[in-house]
């Protein structure tokens, strides 16, 4: 049991940090431009597929650098030629543009790479057990993922809080016109922030690809969870997104690891009742309901605290 807790906690923090790599970009883009980038998970998927393809051509380490840059470039192009032109039609049109984009990217990816999972392997240099907890070998690649996402998290924090660039970005979150008056090119700042946000999503894709499944439906599976994270944490709040990412990462990982059901705890129902909703609920395992737990959390937080954990902004 203790072993399960240790391993699940590690995995949960790892999944949480991955979620935060995505949700931080999404949150910064949202606070800055007022647009929720519906296609954010699609950029994550693009990162994974580019990572896979580049790994086959030039190896994992160059891919780790190149793939996020490529994704970031695509993101900047989307901002420059798509969102900026749509801006005059309002936020709804912008949100729907990214929604259409998410659809299109999924179709393009499954058109090029097919619908079946890719053979995206862990690089040989990292394919060894890092340490042994009780009787389980913990893979070094997961430690690598954790290290990369933590490093990005720290770098992001320092950039935003301690540097001049971060100062300008923070200022344009709240006072875009004032920043413009001070002589900064707000349009270019928006484009860069969008590019960095999508590049981070791409990076998350490259490092998550070998560990999770690289498949054309990975965006539509992860996307809704991502939106739960940022609504749960409070839309537009980075610390909120951080807490929510870790929380949802841990909850999902623990739920998947647990195999209990009401039937295993209290014994099966009287078989004479026959199949009904009750027996369905009675027999379902915690692992089976893991995919819906984030949404249950979403409904709960809406009842208790509609603005999200640390959210203040009324939209």
């Amino acid at each position: 049991m203790l072993e399960l807790i240790v391993i699940s906690t590690l995995n949960g923090i790892l999944f949480g940090m991955l979620l935060f790599l995505l949700s931080s970009g999404l949150t910064v883009i949202f606070s800055m431009m007022g647009v929720l980038n519906f296609a954010h998970a699609s950029f994550y998927m693009l990162g994974a597929f580019f990572g896979y393809q580049l790994t086959r051509w030039i190896g994992f380490w160059p891919a780790l650098v190149l793939a996020p840059l490529l994704v970031g470039a695509i993101g900047m192009a989307v901002e420059r030629y798509g969102l900026r032109n749509t801006h005059k039609h309002g936020h709804v049109a912008e949100l729907l543009l990214t929604f259409g984009l998410a659809f299109a990217i999924e179709e393009i990816v499954s058109m090029i790479w097919g619908k079946s999972p890719m053979d995206y392997r862990i690089p040989a240099a990292l394919d060894f057990p890092a340490f042994t907890v009780f009787s389980t070998n913990y893979p070094a690649y997961k430690i690598f993922m954790l290290a990369v996402s933590t490093a990005i998290f720290v770098a992001l924090l320092i950039t935003l809080k301690k540097t001049r660039v971060g100062l300008i970005v923070q200022a344009s979150l709240t006072h875009p016109t004032m920043v413009g008056h001070l002589g900064h090119n707000v349009g270019r700042i928006f484009m860069l922030v969008f590019g960095v946000g999508t590049a981070l999503a791409g990076l998350a894709g490259v490092i998550a690809g070998p560990s999770l499944v690289t498949q054309s439906d990975m965006a539509s599976l992860l996307g809704p969870i991502l939106f739960v994270v940022i609504v749960f944490g409070g839309l537009g709040s980075l610390p909120g997104a951080f807490i929510a990412s870790l929380l949802i990462g841990l909850i999902q990982t623990f739920a998947v690891a647990l195999n209990g059901s009401l039937a295993s705890a209290f014994g099966p129902l009287d078989p004479s009742l026959g199949p009904s909703v009750l027996t369905d609920i009675w027999n379902v395992t915690i692992a089976q309901i893991a995919p819906i737990l984030p949404y249950v959390l979403l409904v709960l937080i809406l009842i208790v605290r509609p603005m999200g954990l640390l959210g203040t902004r009324e939209t």
């Binding site: 929720l36 798509g82 936020h91 929604f99 259409g100 909703v277 409904v299 009842i303």
Partner: protein
């Protein structure tokens, strides 16, 4: 948003007299009756039935998106639950011999959609805007995933099947043949469309518009926007349930695909491609999207990509949708300056068509090239066969796309200029403000 606020008025006030207004509905009813007599093949009857259902569904979506300003990404939940309740009730009627004939069954679907809206609506309409959009997406996922867990209710992967002919007959109609089902659907399309149009004319419909445009001022005049949004959500859920019920009757099955994200996405596409600012916009969108869906699935494997591209194009260049584009010309026609833009349209049409062909050829080439070897990689475009593996095809696609784009951009600039001149004339004559 001036334009949008008066949108439901457009049909009535600007067409002048009431007789013309009722005339439109009468013509619609006659068209629905006559259509299957002209196109009587089985395939077209099936298409008309599906189009009818998606019209109701898209209109119900527009109660939220167009009239109340709530962007829902999980509207199919109500559609699907309506369908499931319908299938279960139909099975129960058949096995207990209840005297309820089939024509009333779509109401059951409506109740199914409404019941879930009553249950969940209060929580999710607490917030509007982006948060509502995200929550509706989450609820959609929640229900879609739960439907696979609760197998006894949702029938797992295979769904719940039913038989519409086992229900009590009415006027001697068995509802076995597709023609009778078509008339049943047509009847409910008329009833629902009239009801939903009437809804936009009620004080509730108007206050919904107000909540969309400025919730703060609505609060100042003493209404609670949350309650207004909740009521609108319930109406939308009810009509979506009717559409779901009709689908269950039409296909004699309800499965978890009805609840899913793709279904929610398609109705969103239909409503926004058609245009949400006018009542008839989603009708146009539903007809187009369903027609394209039925037509494209036979021709290409990547039909969803085309939808995505059409949708992105709509959002970037014509956020008012087809209805918005059509209504834009109204003041010009009335001012008599519409003739000034026609030549520029004709000039722009050719390169735009070339661009479209280039994009289609590129997509198809890519799709066939990467498809597995066994499948045919010959593209038949306008009667010309292109081989996806030959470089000449790639070159043609690139030339058409890039050349079409460059020339189209020039011609569209001229359209804008011609449009400005025509609009100035219309403004001078007092038809455009």
């Amino acid at each position: 948003m001036n334009n949008a606020a008066t949108a439901p008025n457009m049909l009535k006030e600007q067409s002048g007299s009431a007789s013309r207004f009722y005339g439109i509905w009468l013509i619609a009813a006659i068209a629905l009756i006559v259509l299957p007599l002209i196109f009587s093949s089985g395939a077209s009857l099936t298409s008309f039935s599906l189009i009818g259902i998606s019209i109701i569904f898209a209109l119900s979506y527009n109660i939220l998106a167009g009239q109340t300003g709530l962007l829902s990404f999980g509207h199919a939940v109500h559609y699907g639950l309506g369908g499931f309740l319908t299938a279960h009730v139909m099975n129960a009627i058949a096995s207990y011999n209840w005297p309820i004939p089939l024509p009333f069954i779509p109401l059951v679907g409506g109740i199914g959609g409404l019941a879930f809206a009553v249950l969940i609506g209060w929580v999710i309409t607490k917030r509007a805007g982006t948060v509502f959009a995200m929550i509706s997406l989450g609820i959609g996922e929640l229900v879609a995933s739960s439907s696979l867990i609760l197998r006894s209710v949702f029938g797992g992967e295979s769904g719940i099947s039913t038989d519409r002919t086992t229900l009590p007959h009415m006027f001697g109609w068995t509802f076995g043949p597709q023609l009778q089902v078509y008339y049943l659907i047509a009847f409910w399309v008329m009833v629902s469309a009239i009801a939903m149009y009437a809804l936009t004319r009620t004080p509730l419909g108007r206050i919904c518009n107000a909540v969309r445009d400025n919730p703060e001022r609505v609060q100042f005049i003493g209404y609670d926007p949350h309650i207004v949004r909740y009521l609108a959500y319930n109406f939308a859920g009810f009509f979506a349930g009717i559409a779901g019920g009709l689908t269950a009757i039409n296909f004699e099955i309800a499965n978890s695909a009805y609840l899913g994200a793709t279904q929610s996405g398609l109705v969103l596409f239909a409503a926004f491609i058609g245009g949400t600012t006018y009542f008839f916009g989603p009708i146009l969108g539903a007809i187009l999207v369903t027609y394209l869906q039925l037509g494209l699935t036979n021709v290409t494997t990547v039909w969803l990509l085309y939808f995505g591209i059409i949708f992105i194009g709509t959002m970037m260049f014509a956020p008012g949708g087809i209805a918005g584009l059509l209504m834009m010309h109204r003041p010009l026609i009335r001012a008599g300056s519409f003739g000034m833009v026609i030549p520029s349209y004709l000039v722009a049409a050719l390169p735009t068509l070339v661009l479209a062909l280039g994009v289609i050829l590129s997509i198809e080439t890519a799709a066939r090239y990467t498809a597995s070897e066994g499948e045919g990689n010959v593209i038949n475009l306008l009667g010309i066969a292109f081989d996806a593996t030959k470089p000449v095809t790639w070159a043609v696609a690139a030339v058409l796309t890039v050349g079409g784009f460059l020339i189209a951009r020039m011609t569209w600039r001229r359209v804008t200029e011609a449009w400005d001149r025509a609009a100035t004339v219309a403004r001078d004559r007092g038809f455009l403000t």
